[in-house]
């Protein structure tokens, strides 16, 4: 126990004394939040659309056909009432919805203003704004064709409402992704670097030759980064809440628990990387390519997964950050709990167990020859 405390104390000294790295650890999340405060736009295809049509008539059917024909949307459900919409969004089955009012054709015929409601899931602001834009275009086009040549003054008024993210701020969205990114840097990169640094200075030899067991060395090395990772996560959440007013609708405890799982996964990856390398430079490259790039590109953090080619989407299933981002978005923006998030949580638990075992095994009690 004393040995473990000694290890921890030493590691804290390392972290506190390496000023440049310390500044990076502290400033990185702050700066990232600001940078990603601006949305990153991308094109979207195959948006999953739900339609609420209480009383189908000629007009609603015509508009529905146009949505189908636009090539951007795929109708996943046609519902008679608004009630059925909520679960679809929560499961992620629908990304947008078109809601017709009953008797639309009749209102139009009598020259009364008719309403069409367009709902989008703004937990994905890119997708959300595109749904809005396309849907409005489709409806307006139809209304022009219908109304302009014949009966002037009769219009379709599309009312737009956002769900979950009513202010449409993309910052709401990137915060979960950013948490994944920051945790990856601190857990994977820092762990890999700090372990390989011990190899470079030759101190790993001295640690190995001592009565410390490999698990003690790992726990001693990794715990401080776990703490630092946790603190960063809390920092990012606070900053996001205070500056960008990002909501936190779900359970904080659940979010922190999922964060812990993700940190464990990332730390294990860091240990695995360091086991295969003996220089800090190689470890940095390994962490960059092996963990940071996938977290940036394949987690849905910046680029929507649904607009990715199938092979990349397939790869994204083994990227831990994908699952964490999914879970964190669910908790923060939708306020949903384990009832919906258990599959992704299970994936994270499985990944953590697998990688922790693999990384402990990769850490030998002797020098590799």
């Amino acid at each position: 126990m004393k040995a473990l405390l000694g290890l921890l104390r030493k590691e804290v000294y390392h972290i506190l004394r390496d000023r440049r790295t310390l500044v990076v650890i502290i400033l990185l999340p702050v700066v990232q939040v600001v940078i990603f405060g601006y949305a990153i736009r991308t094109d979207v295809e195959h948006v999953r659309l739900a339609i609420v049509d209480p009383a189908p008539d000629a007009t609603t059917l015509a508009i529905r056909n146009r949505f189908e024909a636009a090539g951007v949307f795929r109708t996943v459900a046609v519902l008679p009432r608004m009630d059925g919409l909520e679960p679809l969004f929560e499961r992620g089955a629908a990304q947008g919805a078109v809601v017709f009012e009953p008797g639309l054709a009749e209102k139009l015929a009598r020259g009364l203003p008719a309403q069409i409601l367009i709902v989008s899931d703004a937990t994905e602001p890119n997708t959300g704004s595109i749904v809005q834009a396309y849907a409005a275009a489709v409806v307006q086009q139809y209304s022009r064709e219908l109304g302009a040549p014949r009966r002037a003054g009769i219009r379709i008024v599309p009312t737009v409402r956002m769900r979950f993210n009513p202010t449409r701020q993309s910052s709401n969205l990137f915060v979960p992704g950013l948490m994944a990114f920051v945790l990856t840097i601190i857990s994977s990169l820092m762990t890999a670097i700090s372990l390989t640094r011990e190899k470079e200075t030759g101190t790993m030899e001295a640690l190995l030759v001592s009565p410390l067991r490999p698990w003690q060395i790992i726990v001693g090395k990794v715990t401080p980064y776990l703490v630092v990772g946790f603190v960063s996560v809390i920092g990012v959440i606070l900053e996001a809440r205070l500056i960008f007013h990002v909501p936190l609708r779900g359970s904080v405890a659940l979010l922190l628990f999922e964060g812990l799982l993700f940190i464990l996964v990332s730390l294990s990856l860091g240990i695995l990387i360091s086991a295969r390398t003996s220089s800090q430079r190689v470890a940095m490259m390994g962490a960059l390519i092996g963990t940071m790039l996938p977290t940036m590109l394949l987690s849905g953090f910046i680029f929507p997964l649904e607009s990715m080619p199938a092979p990349l989407r397939a790869i994204s299933y083994v990227v831990p950050a994908r699952w964490f981002v999914l879970v964190a978005r669910g908790i923060m923006l939708k306020g949903i709990g384990l009832a919906y998030l258990w599959p992704a949580t299970l994936v994270l638990i499985a990944m953590a167990l697998l990688l922790l075992t693999a990384s402990t095994r990769s850490f030998h009690e002797r020098l590799e020859s």
């Binding site: 030759g202 101190t203 030899e205």
Partner: protein, 318 residues
């Protein structure tokens, strides 16, 4: 009488390869308790690999090694608490201070500086003035002393020092050996490796190593004395030409630069030394080296090393 089981170190036919590189080839030796045993040889001789095996950091491919009566492979966890090891690179944390480094290594072994003060006092007293200085800012000699202190802080029964004096200036080297002398009476066994031939004399016994093999094991004096012919030191103002000339002399067994002089050994074993000297002087002056002098000299460990290496072309005349 000591039995092999009482030896501090017993190595039996150990081999170790890295890919196609032979690091150790069939090495056997034993070291007695309280002995100071030196391994002397150039880079690549296998010293570091041998020390890593003895310090339980590597398993041999073949053969067995026992330290303090225990097997270095199967008993590694019992051994690790009882041995001290100072790796070739000093193995310190540059961003920690002298005291922090020492405290850390003490804590790793479940002890404290205060409890072990008696043991480390001779070295720690020299380090104490800089206890708050970061290890990175220490001179080479001080780093070396701190590394030794860290390897000693848990009161090991045996100490493995892998090239502790490499890259350290002559003053610090000498001080380091003087420090090791202070542990003599405590009965600690010390194994030390070095590329410097002149450090052989600070050991009770030495093993000469080359290419993964042990060329000889004995006391430094006995190794030097094993040089089997009279050895002469030749001085001439133009060393290089004198060397070239002597290579052409039919009686030359070996001739090579040695400090300010050339060391010469004759092929003929049945000719008295003073006659060889006279003949050589005549030969040198006939080649224009009028200022040359020849005198009999005592062979050193280095001369023996060269003789045992089986000199390749150049050093030994054909």
């Amino acid at each position: 009488m000591t039995t092999p089981a009482d030896d501090a170190v017993a190595v039996d036919r150990v081999s170790k390869n890295f890919g196609s590189t032979v690091a150790l080839a069939d090495v056997s030796f034993s070291v007695q308790r309280a002995e100071r045993f030196g391994f002397i040889g150039p880079d690549g001789a296998g010293k570091t690999t041998l020390f890593r095996i003895l310090a339980t950091l590597m398993a041999p491919d073949q053969g067995r090694a026992r330290v303090l009566g225990r097997d270095v492979v199967s008993d590694l966890w019992t051994l690790r608490a009882r041995i001290g090891y100072m790796p070739g690179r000093f193995s310190l944390y540059p961003d920690l201070s002298v005291d922090e480094n020492l405290r850390f290594f003490a804590s790793v072994f479940g002890t404290t500086i205060e409890r072990e003060y008696q043991q480390i006092a001779p070295i720690y007293s020299q380090l104490e003035p800089f206890r708050d200085r970061r290890a990175a800012a220490l001179s080479g000699g001080m780093k070396q002393k701190l590394a030794l202190c860290c390897a000693l802080v848990h009161r090991p029964e045996i100490l493995f020092l892998d090239e502790p004096t490499t890259g350290v200036d002559a003053v610090s080297r000498r001080e380091f050996w003087d420090l090791l002398d202070t542990f003599k009476q405590s009965g600690m066994t010390i194994l030390v490796s070095t590329p410097y031939m002149d450090e052989a004399n600070r050991c009770d016994r030495v093993a000469l190593m080359q290419g993964g093999r042990i060329l000889a094991i004995d006391t430094p004096q006995a190794i030097a004395d094993s040089f089997d012919r009279p050895l002469f030191a030749i001085r001439a103002s133009d060393r290089y030409r004198a060397l070239k000339a002597l290579r052409e002399w039919p009686h030359t067994h070996s001739v090579y630069p040695f400090g300010e002089t050339l060391h010469y050994a004759d092929k003929r074993t049945d000719v008295p030394a003073d006659r060889i000297a006279t003949e050589m002087l005549a030969f040198l002056s006939s080649h224009g080296f009028d200022d040359a002098s020849v005198e009999r000299t005592a062979p050193t460990v280095e001369d023996s090393f060269i003789a045992r290496m089986g000199a390749p072309e150049g050093v030994r005349a054909a």
